[in-house]
Symmetry: C3
Amino acid sequence: MHLGVCYYPEHWPEERWAEDARQMREIGLTRVRIGEFAWSRIEPEPGQYDWDWLDRAVEILHSAGLGIIMGTPTATPPKWLVDSMPDMLAIDREGQPRGFGSRRHYCFSHEGYGEEARRITRVVAQRYGQHPGVVGWQTDNEFGCHDTVQSFSPAARDAFRRWLAELYGSVATLNEAWGNVFWSMEYRSFDEIELPNQTVTEANPAHWLAFRRFSSDKVIRFNRAQVEILREASPGRDIMHNAMGFYTGYDHHDLAQDLDVLGWDSYPLGFLEMFRFTEEEKRDFARQGHPDIAAFHHDLYRGCAKDGRWNVLEQQPGPVNWARYNPAPLPGMVRLWTLEAFAHGAEMVSYFRWRQFPKAQEQMHAGLLRPDGEPVPAYAEAASAGREIADLGAVGEAPKHVALIFSYDSEWITQIQPQGEGRSALWAAFSAYSSLRRLGLNVDIVPPETELDGYSLVVVPCLPVMTEGLADALKRFDGQILVGPRTATRDTDFAIPGGLVDQDFADLIGGKIVRSESLSDRLQMTGDGWTAKGWLDHYEGEAEPEFVAGSGEACSYRHRNLRLCCTWPEGSMFERLVERAASDAGLPHEALPKGIRYRTCGSTRFTFDYLTAQISFD
Amino acid sequence: MHLGVCYYPEHWPEERWAEDARQMREIGLTRVRIGEFAWSRIEPEPGQYDWDWLDRAVEILHSAGLGIIMGTPTATPPKWLVDSMPDMLAIDREGQPRGFGSRRHYCFSHEGYGEEARRITRVVAQRYGQHPGVVGWQTDNEFGCHDTVQSFSPAARDAFRRWLAELYGSVATLNEAWGNVFWSMEYRSFDEIELPNQTVTEANPAHWLAFRRFSSDKVIRFNRAQVEILREASPGRDIMHNAMGFYTGYDHHDLAQDLDVLGWDSYPLGFLEMFRFTEEEKRDFARQGHPDIAAFHHDLYRGCAKDGRWNVLEQQPGPVNWARYNPAPLPGMVRLWTLEAFAHGAEMVSYFRWRQFPKAQEQMHAGLLRPDGEPVPAYAEAASAGREIADLGAVGEAPKHVALIFSYDSEWITQIQPQGEGRSALWAAFSAYSSLRRLGLNVDIVPPETELDGYSLVVVPCLPVMTEGLADALKRFDGQILVGPRTATRDTDFAIPGGLVDQDFADLIGGKIVRSESLSDRLQMTGDGWTAKGWLDHYEGEAEPEFVAGSGEACSYRHRNLRLCCTWPEGSMFERLVERAASDAGLPHEALPKGIRYRTCGSTRFTFDYLTAQISFD
Amino acid sequence: MHLGVCYYPEHWPEERWAEDARQMREIGLTRVRIGEFAWSRIEPEPGQYDWDWLDRAVEILHSAGLGIIMGTPTATPPKWLVDSMPDMLAIDREGQPRGFGSRRHYCFSHEGYGEEARRITRVVAQRYGQHPGVVGWQTDNEFGCHDTVQSFSPAARDAFRRWLAELYGSVATLNEAWGNVFWSMEYRSFDEIELPNQTVTEANPAHWLAFRRFSSDKVIRFNRAQVEILREASPGRDIMHNAMGFYTGYDHHDLAQDLDVLGWDSYPLGFLEMFRFTEEEKRDFARQGHPDIAAFHHDLYRGCAKDGRWNVLEQQPGPVNWARYNPAPLPGMVRLWTLEAFAHGAEMVSYFRWRQFPKAQEQMHAGLLRPDGEPVPAYAEAASAGREIADLGAVGEAPKHVALIFSYDSEWITQIQPQGEGRSALWAAFSAYSSLRRLGLNVDIVPPETELDGYSLVVVPCLPVMTEGLADALKRFDGQILVGPRTATRDTDFAIPGGLVDQDFADLIGGKIVRSESLSDRLQMTGDGWTAKGWLDHYEGEAEPEFVAGSGEACSYRHRNLRLCCTWPEGSMFERLVERAASDAGLPHEALPKGIRYRTCGSTRFTFDYLTAQISFD
Ligand SMILES: [Zn+2]
Ligand SMILES: [Zn+2]
Ligand SMILES: [Zn+2]
């Protein structure tokens, strides 16, 4: 269990480094992340490396007793590199190049840049791979940040064609799978296929889904190439990457398979302000973040991580600079976020960043120190959290209550074809997760392939693509099951199955979904004390209706140990469904007051009060 | 009187075709529209035609007793054709090509594609033109869908210059007509004229109007070229095209002159959700559509059609996939929409489509059959409507009550220069139409050239360009006249007339409009129990003020048999004007309850209840 | 003291010119602005000048006794000129050329166009520079209108690199100043620097600030080149330019240094509708404009003007055509605006325009005459205002009450980095100005270099870049000082100073701002009868908290004669601060009723009632 911090020695005079390291240790930090944006300092001219400064920085940090997590600097290739191959820039959806002057200015499909990225990774890995101070590596930085997974470049087009040829074998197979007979979109060869942007109206959703999978694959391969180099040059060190919040541009389950530890960057206040929370939530939790934001990602990324090893590679210690409005955390929140991460199993929480840099894009992004080197309020909170974590010792294993199933494929499908504005699988997952957490339950957010033994309740909020593994596991599962709308209604090529839903799923629900409606919030269905809205799957089969609206719509059904929610998984009817499922599953639960959340580990129950920023254990 | 359906045999196994045909007949369908997106199946390789499958499909449908409406497949040229002439793609307003991958990916000004479109039309027409099963033709599909009338390509620019040269003769004439001395926009030759997109601020409105007329003309000519081929190769068959709802991208009066029957595609739920209805209307009529949507278009396109022959070429039978939210029709609505179309004089209603295709862009667009081949609720409603129509027999002629004048030219002017946000002639027409219909009146929406004899009331909601024919007709007209704002305030080149309004119109209103204001909804004018808003034309002349606001503004005037509405034609003052005009015209009328509408044909009065989806006749 | 009008003889038959001139004189106009869009008439073919018509127009106007302000026609280069050098077009932020077809279609960095602009200026200046009728010149027209200051062309890029090289000397200096080590943005030479548009995420704010200063400089130089030609060819005439409302695209303080008189174009109704006023203000003042719009600009541009000489080069006399909604002024408002301008020290008010042109882009933009040549209501109001001004004689000097400090640099910084949506220095200035005016005070809006002697109160609403001159002046100042958020928190290269705030400023406030939060309006801080919101600067130092919220936040501090407002300078707490500062400054003041404003000149107090459009003096 470690606390760490992100640090940029290149931003500060060398004279200050030792004092910085000393202070880090003083407040209990044991890890320091460095180097991930330093390419222009490591290689100021093509092929001319300047290791001196970094050697000294590594030495100073190491001597102070800090374990170093070194970043590969591939998110910020220097200008001379871009000028040597200008077509390495990604092309945006409107056909414009995404130029130099910030970061992430590269196309994942560009082979020349891929080679350069491996070269710089190799030289850095060779220089520091065996250094005793280096305990881990971070590949690149926040893959996909600023919408950078997809590129519509000639390189991407050519690679996409090759990827499709490999996947489908023959273009006839692709035409059939995508239904290209529709609108005469049939191709005679893979070389006729274009990227799906800039079509007159929307492209074939199967075309988009393939492109999203291809784009995700390019990220996985880009990362893997670095991982392979690092494994060889730096044996025994943990390799990690920092994922982001509410971000689904690539398949994190896939990426995590190549990593030792999956990290993520936790900015609860920024996320609250930027994403789809209600006005009331944005007001009441402006300085805390919604009580489920951090935990949702903890539980999601733990579920993605290969062996369940995960951490927080960046933790907000003060205001950030990138949300619509950027308030400061309530006193106590930095401590609360830190302890909550550990309660959910984090191996490390690393604050971003040590000291606020007074220049450039993030000059308004707070650190533990102010630009003038003085501590901010979070400084003492970090120190306190460190002491408390040490006192607590290892937290016990969390009892398995609920498995919540989420897949990136399914999210892409709902993004490509929401059918009703804003109906996305990710947000269905968040809403379902929040309902479960408000009952005090532990929730694991897991991919469809997960072993379900030991759980009492499985919730599938919205999963258009059912996998054979999950269908089988659900059939075998003897706890309670709660399934939401759109589930099992697409095959892997984005087609509606012949039987309207996946056959195994039809068995599970004793019938099928025969028609779906998306509904605006104007059209609410109401029953005795509840409302439901947003969607309506029409079911036919042998299941029994459970919640039926006064206007006649059956909003949910029950079949054996399974409940089917036909409306969007949010609102009071859905909360009742969740409560009934938890009861039937024999899970002890209670309706928690506003802002209160639990996390149970071994015999300890953590209670987090998001309204007052208090924590208690018992 | 026919019911029909849109069918895509190429989507389904050949074994199923006969059964599909049998079922169609079983529920009373007698027409089937096919072929309009099948180019890649008809001509899979350049110049190599595959007629076999289509021959068999035609034969099977014909044998079953279905009359076939064959589409020309020019809305979906295959990829090999696009690759052979990439500059056939339209260019969007921002200068980007509109690529392959959906439909309508062609520029109407591209001569090479024009030739290819005529070629494919000719071979299809030659193959099936004399087939006894073929009873009609549809040209292309939904001209203008996805904003495809305007293209900003080099081909369009060159054609526009030629078009202008032909229209104006000399560039000096054009400079004078457009007022190009303003801002030194004078041209020395037609070759100096650019397209009006991508100017620094708005281009000359006369420039835009000319470009819109040119673009419309290109559509008319594209269609006419197909019509000429079809007339020659397929004598005696009705040629039609399917217009869209709330769409004014080309002049439908012009287009209809080349057609035998003007069709349109009726999607009341999608239109309600996507267009400018109130929140209350979107809630109360979410599953029905606003009670005037379908009828407005019936009465509009009947007025456009050459001999008043029109039909519904596509009728929504369930949820669609393209609106913000896509609910299902209330039980009874598909029957109601069908009967309402006949009450308004449709020759046919054709459902879109027979069976929902489980792949590609419209996989969530319902048909009469589900993807698994089972019927949806609308299936039985179609069958019932068919029986009822047969029972009813020919409906009597509708008595002429109100002529409502609308012109595409005028709509373009208000789009190019709304002066106040959202002040468009089309929506003025809709609002006026709705006010008239809520009094139970029959309304014909007609172009300015229409003979007005037999009407009791003429309403001109907003017609910036007065035609000499209309002015003369209004002078002769001895019924009541109600005229709305902006009328007769522009000449055909978008200039304000020397006398501020058209001289004939000045005679009619006994004065002139001397100043116009556009007003936000914040600034309402109120009188005794009424409000008026949105616009204020200041009138000077001998007419008498009729409605005068408490704050002093004269909101309407009366002069002989004419009422002049100076505010936007909506709201309670306008409703009173309409009611007074109807009274003075001697038209029996009544204030209908919410959701109720009438249509009177001969001695029959149809009553449609949009709240309950009920219909009655008496 | 003059009244004038903008006139376009080229729009009207020559026979009408003399009558127009006579009428102008008849209603008391003595100035006429002409020629600024007439390039295509002056030089219809390259190098072939047609002076005849303009000679005659000048003669007729002069003979009638009108002093002519001649415009250089460089805002509207003709098509033949653009075709001769197509790369003179500006490039927009998305990389698209901004084409011919309206106006301002040129890039300020294009040297070829710069030469052409000087050429046409020279020939016009040589022709009319010594004409006795020509009393003044206007350069170009509304620099920056339609967002035309910035161009992202190759010409701009090259010029920007040269500009940076000159400013920074070495690229290492630039890298250090901008903090380019962050994200490896370091350059090896000035030729590696790109324009800041089209980066993946936001460019370095220092990069943007430099580009904005460069772009502003290009405008200043473009203008100066014309001024130099005019001074030489037309000695003794006033040279002016017309600035716009709420526009900050270039540094008006800089521009004004090259001019004799700074003009501005006053459209109170359009500005109210288009800018960030509340719904209530937009309703209550729809026909008047917000009571502070015109005065704010009068006082701002008077403060920009070299010797305080300024005028209104365009005054709205009726509805315009470019706002979302375009109502007509309340009767009396044209007179009120005219007199208010004189009360604030204008040398001239020139109505835009004489007669509404019935064609082209501004056909809905009213003049003093309608398109048919008849007068509009403002015609008589202008005549009346002229008589009243003559009766009044010279107004006395306005007593100095409040100096309000504003700089364009600071506005650019808050635009580039608002940190919280909509937090801009310009709107902070407007809000502070309005609070002061509602107390009946005279306000001078002045640049930071201004001499503060004679003022009783200095207000600095939001000034991120403190200048040494201002800091010194504030230290010496013995009146009251009120300072708003973000002040003195950046150096001139957009970096946070080492001491977090400018050192001199730290002395002034007895401490420093150690952390800043931007807050959404959901998060209001409330005290006893007041609220504060929008921002929170956390202060540390020896100042005393003055307003402290119930929730504990110190919203303002007091230190000696200085008050520090830590929240956004608007709302009820800020109003109390202003009132206390005015009291402590010994300024007589009162809370004016809604819509009432004062202007005190010598012994005269003008009272303007914006609700009723009345004026009184005493
Ligand atoms: Zn990021
Ligand atoms: Zn369509
Ligand atoms: Zn302007």
